[in-house]
Symmetry: C2
Subunit: 238 residues, 2 copies
DNA sequence: ATAAAAAGATGATTTTTGTCAGGTTTGACG
DNA sequence: CGTCAAACCTGACAAAAATCATCTTTTTAT
């Protein structure tokens, strides 16, 4: 389970275009590149812990990572699932606070660590980049507001349906395979995303399966009927 | 119900120190000041509407404003209650999106409007200010993550208790009167904050009152026993 | 290969909360 | 001052979802 280092130049990273670093000048990018440390993580390893102080920014190159909070009874709530190209841990870094959540690897991952000094240097020297970061953060906030309202007023069935659609959009594969949610999520993790009990998720999933809305493929879920799922999510006023 | 204009120089505004504009250079502040429009609003008036495009930033001088989303059935969820010194509508402005929520005056308000051009000008020319804004936005995001986890796993009773404590902290008066929540909230609005039905809030409030945790003073609520309320909120593992 | 552990599934039961239907009180306004 | 509407309150009931207890299947580790 030892961490293994790897190295890929930022300029050659296949996720550069999708990431916030796209558009950075060659000099800025090399500044980031020269100070980064890239590490391979195995499923189950932790990237950072709630209550600790951030020392830099993580940038996903491969794999999937869940970011979650534990409540008093030890139940998880998953705030976000990071995929290649995503930044990780930027919220606490930019607000100069301790991490409020823990990040754990869901699928074997390669993650680059950028020391906060290098990141802040580029941020400070580059107003355009700063603006892009602000824009992204504020967009993310809008997503969270949406989630809040959903959590407050929708039933578990509606939330599960809505989340399956969201997961399909965000983690679906390219082209033909886009209906498959490319995430090896346990029922428990899915429950932690939706904000409900594991048993409830299991029951609802088997409902959705019986009704032909989804299918199981190994550990993954395929969305078969987007329209009917959207109806279940109460996104269509039928 | 006509809007009435008023004018206060930003440099003389009593909320300048509490606001994100504190620390701005005299030149920058006057740039803001010279382009702002200040308007008095009556209770019930709307500041901006979900689905419309932001054209600037609102800065609260007096009063209280609720920012909320309406769900399909018309039920409100209150995301935020703005008080003097707070910015309003910055999220959509900075993410360059439409408003995702509506802002309505809860208590007669005086609000200054800063055109986006002026705001962005200062933001761009002033990296320190930009950094403060980023920090504030990211802090706010942390608050929302907290709320999400709370909404996902806490009971209505716990959430109501937690929200009463939060409201006391945020909208409590100075010194002696700090136990009074200085907000004329209807039961319905409180329900929209907690994410529950109005009847449930009414029942729980009267429970809390019988147990001596809170008292009613006119339209306002006084917190009598912070410790016991915190226990109800499950913030103390007793 | 096999034991142990984890994940998944199902049924019974209880608790929580929303909904509905009716009340009363309060406050605004002509 | 009276009227009307909104806010507040209460009880009964139904629905949703959590919890608990098993049991089966799958995965993991030795």
């Amino acid at each position: 389970m030892a961490k293994v280092e790897f190295n890929i130049a930022c300029s050659l990273c296949e996720h550069l275009q999708d990431s916030l670093f796209s558009g950075l000048s060659p000099e800025d990018l090399s500044r980031i590149n020269n100070h980064k440390t890239c590490v391979s993580y195995k499923k189950g390893q932790n990237i950072f812990y709630e209550g600790t102080r951030p020392t830099g920014l993580y940038c996903m190159n491969a794999g999937k990572v869940k970011v979650f909070k534990n409540n008093v009874q030890g139940k998880e709530f998953i705030i976000y699932i990071a995929k290649p190209g995503d930044f990780l841990g930027y919220r606490a870094l930019l607000s100069e606070e301790f991490y409020q959540a823990t990040a754990t690897v869901l699928e074997d991952a390669k993650i680059c660590f950028i020391p906060k000094e290098s990141f802040f240097e580029v941020l400070q020297k580059n107003p355009t980049f700063m603006k892009r970061v602000v824009k992204a953060v504020c967009h993310e906030m809008g997503v969270m507001e949406e989630k809040l309202a959903e959590l407050a007023h929708k039933s578990v069935r509606e939330r599960l349906a809505a989340n399956l659609l969201m997961l399909k959009e965000t983690y679906g594969m390219e082209g033909e395979g886009s209906s498959l949610i490319d995430l090896a999520l346990s029922r428990e993790d899915l429950a932690s995303i939706v904000g409900t009990a594991t048993e409830t998720v299991i029951r609802l999933l088997s409902d959705f399966k019986s009704d032909g809305l989804i299918a199981f493929e190994g550990k993954k879920i395929r969305v078969l009927d987007v329209k009917k799922l959207a109806k279940q999510a109460d996104l269509i006023v039928a």
